[in-house]
Point group: C2
Chain length 466, copies 2
């Protein structure tokens, strides 16, 4: 069902070479979390710098923010056309527990159409796809359909500690109309999906006190406020018995799920029973929504940690004077995370009885939900490509978790990100025996080729108007 395309032909012919190149990349143990792997991190950068020079990118260099630098290269030969930042990362998770690997984590091994190794799925495979598509465009046509800025991060697996500094220092260089991310993969092996956003979040930590010091429960028990009793009542007040959030104003602004979103969520092949039984959990949450809707389309409020009093071995007969709690709201489209986290704080303050003092230990403004509107050029281009490739309209999905990189690019550069990685959800990322389907290399290089061509049909301004 696909017309011939010289770049796709070129990529298909080069596939063994691309797999070889990917394997060489995978043999470099670029573990960002462990200083013992610093040589591997340097080697991965050298390897990428060389490959980016080789394929014809200009301005190839490291962008330093004080931590592991990003690797950068650009091609600006399409004036008037959109400029796309291609995002990926060259660092990988540690291989521990190494003894649970059936093949050596840094010796990529093909077994039954799967390539096993640390970083195969997350995310050297998809990063290689993106880079080799650019290589084939430049090799076959001497040009890309759009302007390209390749940005490969070295700290994704450690929480991007210097990404803001890198963007701040190189703000002019990194101007672009949108981001295409090789990270953030396909949501299903059986149906085509398109990610159109993610929940935002914020953070709050409060301390409740009922006395200057812990009291002897023999001398005081039964006569005085107990910080843990009051903290328990406060935390219990945050949710209804059915699991819905009971905080006034918590849902303010939340754009109700559209008909399309609810239909797409229902159409998504989702094993709800398995989702819970895999982790021994049980469904609980806002009435009127399915579990998947609750996670992706509705705000949530979770206590992440709570403690107070004596927590060591044996017993200690005290009336604790202090209790502390960490909370994170998750917010959806239309919500201001600052307003939401303040609503939670107001609730806690309003429900805090006389005799208790409540102090804010930590509170941040958080980041809002990210959303690609249905008419956004990134969505329209990706939909066109996926529909052409699969013969089916892709199901729109959203992530329940926030993606820091996406939030940072949106906040600092004002640009949207399309996640277009080709990994699949079962590929054991961050775990032993991580793998990537070799078939995904062909699927990914075809799709990225078509996507760059599609994006070229949109005006640069249209990416910002959306």
């Amino acid at each position: 069902m696909n017309e011939p395309h010289p770049v796709i032909d070129h990529l298909r012919a080069r596939e063994p070479e691309i797999v070889g190149w990917l394997k060489a990349f995978l043999r470099i143990p670029s573990v960002s979390a462990d200083p013992a792997f610093a040589p591997g991190m340097r080697e991965a950068r050298r390897f990428l710098l060389e490959r980016m020079e080789q394929i014809g990118l200009a301005g190839v260099r490291l962008l330093d923010g004080g931590g592991e630098p990003a690797v950068y290269g650009e091609w600006n030969g399409a004036p008037g056309r959109p400029t796309l930042m291609v995002y990926g990362h060259y660092d990988v998770q540690p291989a521990d527990p190494v003894e649970q690997w059936r093949t050596p984590p840094f010796e990529p091994t093909e077994v039954d159409g799967r390539l096993y190794g640390r970083g195969t799925s997350d995310v050297k495979g998809s990063t290689t796809i993106a880079l080799e598509v650019i290589a084939s465009f430049l090799a076959m046509q001497g040009a890309c359909p759009v302007n390209i800025k390749v940005f490969l991060e070295g700290e994704e697996e450690t929480g991007s500690p210097s990404l803001r500094t890198i963007v701040e220092r190189h703000r002019a260089l990194l101007q672009a109309d949108a981001v295409l991310s090789a990270d953030g993969g396909r949501a299903s092996a059986s149906v085509p999906t398109l990610n159109t956003g993610a929940r935002g979040n914020a953070q709050l930590e409060v301390r409740l006190r009922t006395a200057h010091k812990d009291l002897h429960s023999g001398r005081y028990g039964g006569s005085v406020r107990n910080a843990l009793h009051d903290m328990a009542r406060l935390v219990a007040s945050l949710h209804h018995a059915d699991g819905g959030v009971a905080v006034d104003g918590f849902h303010d602004g939340a754009v109700p799920p559209t008909e399309r979103q609810r239909a797409d969520t229902a159409a998504f092949p989702y094993d709800e029973a398995g989702f819970f039984s895999d982790v021994g959990g049980s469904a609980h949450g806002e009435p009127g929504y399915s579990a998947r809707e609750r996670v992706t389309l509705r705000p949530a409020l979770d206590v992440n940690g709570l403690w107070g009093g004596y927590t060591g071995g044996g017993g200690k007969t005290i009336v604790p004077c202090e209790a502390q709690v960490k909370l994170t709201p998750r917010v959806v489209e239309g919500q201001d995370p600052r307003a939401v986290v303040r609503a939670v704080l107001r609730h806690l303050q309003a429900h805090c009885p006389a005799g208790c003092t409540l102090d804010v230990v930590a509170m941040n403004d958080g980041s809002p939900a990210s959303t690609l509107a249905p008419g956004h050029p990134l969505v329209r281009a990706a939909e066109a490509v996926l529909e052409r490739e699969t013969g089916r309209r892709p199901i729109h999905v959203r992530l329940g978790a926030s993606v820091p990189v996406t939030s940072i690019f949106k906040e600092m550069l004002g640009i949207d990100t399309l996640m277009f990685g080709f990994n699949l959800p079962d590929e054991d990322v961050h775990a032993p025996n991580e793998f990537f389907r070799l078939q995904s290399i062909g699927e990914g290089t075809r799709a990225w080729t078509l996507l760059l061509a599609e994006l070229a049909t949109h005006s640069p301004a249209s990416f910002h108007a959306a």
Copy 2:
């Protein structure tokens, strides 16, 4: 108002010698909690063995239970009369923080009628009173009014870890009709008081689980049970908003405070505002009772510790799978601590929603409240003495805290304890600048002399019938 008494005269004449003897005892740093003070512990035992031989006790020896041995001596020259175990302890709290002492902790120093030093009030002062009263009886009359078994513990400040073993190994030797304790002091400097009992307690620790592992709050938040949300609801369900315990069966068996108890409690000079403001706490508890009644005459239920999820620095976006809580009920006269702790567990199980599992981590049978009935010979004798000495009927008071030594003697030997120490509540025990009023030595030796004489008028059987 007091008739002449040769033993009291002898004690009064010996008072400088008694103070000198007490100071020598105080100079021995017998800190049981710190192995560095082992020589001090040995020296204190040697000192007591010598003194007990000197004053004419028989069978003077150490009773070993595998830890710090107790020092023992007896006088059995009053056949047909009651046998009283005289309890005290020779170990003291550590002197830390040493830099906050105005006088050296192990160099007893007289200032304005007070004797400063570690162990003065707790409890070498009152132990010396008891021992020197026996000494004067034996010196002046060649006999005591009752049979005496002196038992001086060396592990009171470390929780009496080997006391049960000592009693078990020497059960026959330690048979007695009752215990007179030099530990457990006067409750007020302005009115005479008589302690008639203490609350009992028990212990329960449970773990609540909602999943096999902590879950990512982005992937699961809003759709799954959160162990801390459920634990908060469970703990909140234990009490009414007013602070009263909401557990079915929790108050079962509790003997309501008598008219006399409520009148005595009201008559006790008690600075309720100061009780709370001293520690920055605020009154909260069962309606219909004063703070002092709540602490001494009513059961209570306190959470002593609670924890779950991420409790380190910064944030971690998890849905915690587990939470744990430590609880101690305090029980009063008439209650079976086993039944009470089981009522709490039943409540937790009944309120634990589907999807949560509750495991008992620790649970003990606890110890019941101790009570000396108004007609008990210990009470009648002490009342007679205090009334004669002060001209006022002593106010009956009870302790909110359990006294392990008392519970162990009751449980293992079946005998009741009268606390008849002469320290006062403001003497900074367990703190820097601990002191004992020198005047208490005269008051204490008079009272102990009269008490032993009074107890001689009761039949041995009457101590057990009560």
